[in-house]
């Protein structure tokens, strides 16, 4: 892998077995195994997807529902192993997929900061150094010592966003997370992400919102039924996507 490339996605295909009924107990499994009714339908969520992102580049991923955007992000994040092909990522990667996924609802906000940080692979010392910054950015104040089962969904998302962005990742995966919280926090979080851009972070950004992609990204791709149908400068690809959306409405 060349030195200036941050993410390299090489001929990635992901297949899911869609069985007609979900077989998750032994009785059904054995009955169907014996009667040979264990059939699967193959479904390719991604087919031969290849692209590279250079360091400091910001790639927007556009596509309709079910186009394979989330599957793509999951393979880049290392959560999902591609059926074929390979993904290489150079540097620390911070997934911002669904904030607060690693929270324990019986834990207080403070305890969750450490738990979430640990889930992302950071040491206690590293999290302690950033603790004050996280609490301040989340605007939670005294609520930080309250179990998060008593939090509103906005408070949870704010805490999740604050932890995920307090670290200094080299590759940032954003899955429509910039719509967190109220208008004030939204502006603040966009500002935070833009400031991370200035530090030269590489970004993979998924959105339906073309104005936001134009504003934040310099490159973009369109996914359709698991294939890349357009790749290029963000503005050109966004124009194409807008046309597609209009075409669909006709």
């Amino acid at each position: 892998m060349e030195n200036n490339i941050a993410v390299k996605v090489d001929n990635v295909s992901v297949m899911f077995n869609l069985n007609k009924e979900k077989v998750d107990n032994m009785k059904e499994y054995f009955i169907k195994l014996i009667t040979r009714k264990l059939r699967f339908t193959e479904f390719w969520a991604l087919q031969d997807v290849s692209f590279t992102i250079e360091k400091g580049e910001r790639l927007g991923v556009l596509g309709f529902n079910g186009a394979g955007k989330s599957t793509l992000l999951k393979t880049v994040a290392g959560v999902l192993k591609p059926t074929k092909g390979s993904v290489e990522v150079d540097g620390v990667i911070a997934p911002l997929l669904e904030l607060g996924a690693g929270f324990d609802s019986n834990y207080t906000g403070k305890e969750n900061i450490f738990l979430y940080g640990a889930t992302m692979g950071y040491s206690r010392k590293y999290i302690e150094e950033r603790y004050d910054e996280i609490v301040e950015f989340s605007e939670l104040g005294d609520f930080i010592n309250v179990p998060i089962k008593n939090y509103s969904s906005g408070m949870r998302a704010r805490l999740g966003f604050s932890i995920a962005t307090a670290v200094e990742p080299e590759v940032l995966i954003l899955d429509e997370v910039l719509s967190v919280g109220d208008a004030k926090f939204k502006a603040k979080s966009e500002k935070k992400v833009t400031s991370m851009f200035k530090k030269g972070v590489t970004v993979l950004f998924v959105s339906h919102n073309t104005p936001q992609v134009r504003r934040l990204c310099n490159k973009a791709i369109i996914l359709d039924h698991g294939k890349i149908i357009a790749y290029g400068e963000a503005n050109e690809v966004c124009d194409k996507y807008d046309e597609l959306v209009k075409g669909g409405k006709k």
Partner: protein, 280 residues
């Protein structure tokens, strides 16, 4: 990242180790959370670790020592006998049951973020191990309490060797926990089935009875002796209750059994972990 494919291979191989080092703080956080959350809303909190074995031992001692007096024949101190078996069995069943559920219960994390997944079964076994070590205080309390009565248990230096069966048991729990956690991802029924199995195991292990006192079919007796928990508990009782050296055959058998379980568990887990996300 290196361009050289040779170096790539090395990177891949050492991923297990580097992951463990990188995520070791996650392991401590999982252990800490399990212990904290378990007793968070109870009035007595962590005291339940002591109270629970104490109360169940009283019940078992009443039932099997009192009503069915026969089972206590030839045992110098039946309560200690019972407690030894009970504490070790409890650790085994609790830790394996929790390890089994651990992967499914952390689906939220596993689906979103890359984490070394074996941390979850491992963390659950370790947290149960810590509560088990705390519950050993009850055993010490009974040993001290009985030393003032005519049922005093001889305390010899061999009691220090009790760490050996405890260590073997820990290895066994890790292995079985890995196997079960993998199985439970693909078949939820395994959890219910294992509950029943644990009940069977309770009676198939000489916890409340003495194996030589029972009028048993030769094959049943052989079956019970093949149970690694029997070997481990026997070793522990020799150290604590009888104050003598344990039978080395017990050690080799249970150790070999445990190590094989770990190997099978690790292999199964490694082979199947990429598919977890599709099933949880």
């Amino acid at each position: 990242m290196d361009k050289n494919p040779e170096n790539w291979k090395i990177v891949q191989k050492s991923k297990f180790l580097s992951d463990f080092v990188k995520y070791r703080y996650l392991l401590t956080e999982i252990v800490r959370r399990n212990i904290k959350v378990q007793y968070r809303d109870s009035v007595l909190g962590i005291f339940w670790t002591l109270l629970q074995p104490l109360l169940t031992t009283v019940v078992l001692a009443l039932v099997f020592g009192g009503f069915f007096g026969k089972s206590a024949d030839g045992i110098s101190n039946y309560v200690i006998y019972l407690l030894c078996g009970r504490l070790l069995y409890d650790f085994f069943s609790q830790s394996t049951k929790r390890a089994m559920k651990s992967v499914r219960l952390s689906a939220g994390v596993i689906k979103k973020v890359y984490v070394p997944k074996y941390m979850y079964p491992l963390g659950n076994v370790i947290s149960c191990f810590i509560t088990f070590l705390i519950s050993l205080i009850i055993l010490v309390g009974f040993l001290v309490g009985y030393s003032f009565t005519d049922k005093a248990v001889p305390i010899t230096p061999y009691i220090l060797l009790s760490v050996v069966p405890i260590a073997v048991l820990f290895i066994l729990c890790v292995g079985v926990g890995m196997i079960l956690s993998t199985a439970a991802v693909f078949f939820k029924d395994a959890e219910y089935l294992y509950d029943v199995f644990c009940m069977l195991l309770f009676y198939a292990t000489p916890i409340v009875y003495v194996i030589n006192n029972m009028n048993m079919n030769k094959y049943v007796q052989l079956g019970i002796k093949a149970n690694p928990l029997y070997s481990i508990i026997s070793m522990f009782r020799d150290c604590v209750l009888n104050g003598c050296m344990f039978n080395l055959n017990h050690l080799w058998y249970s150790l070999a059994f445990s190590v094989i379980c770990v190997l099978i568990g690790a292999l199964m887990f490694k082979k199947k972990q990429d598919k977890f996300i599709l099933h949880i």
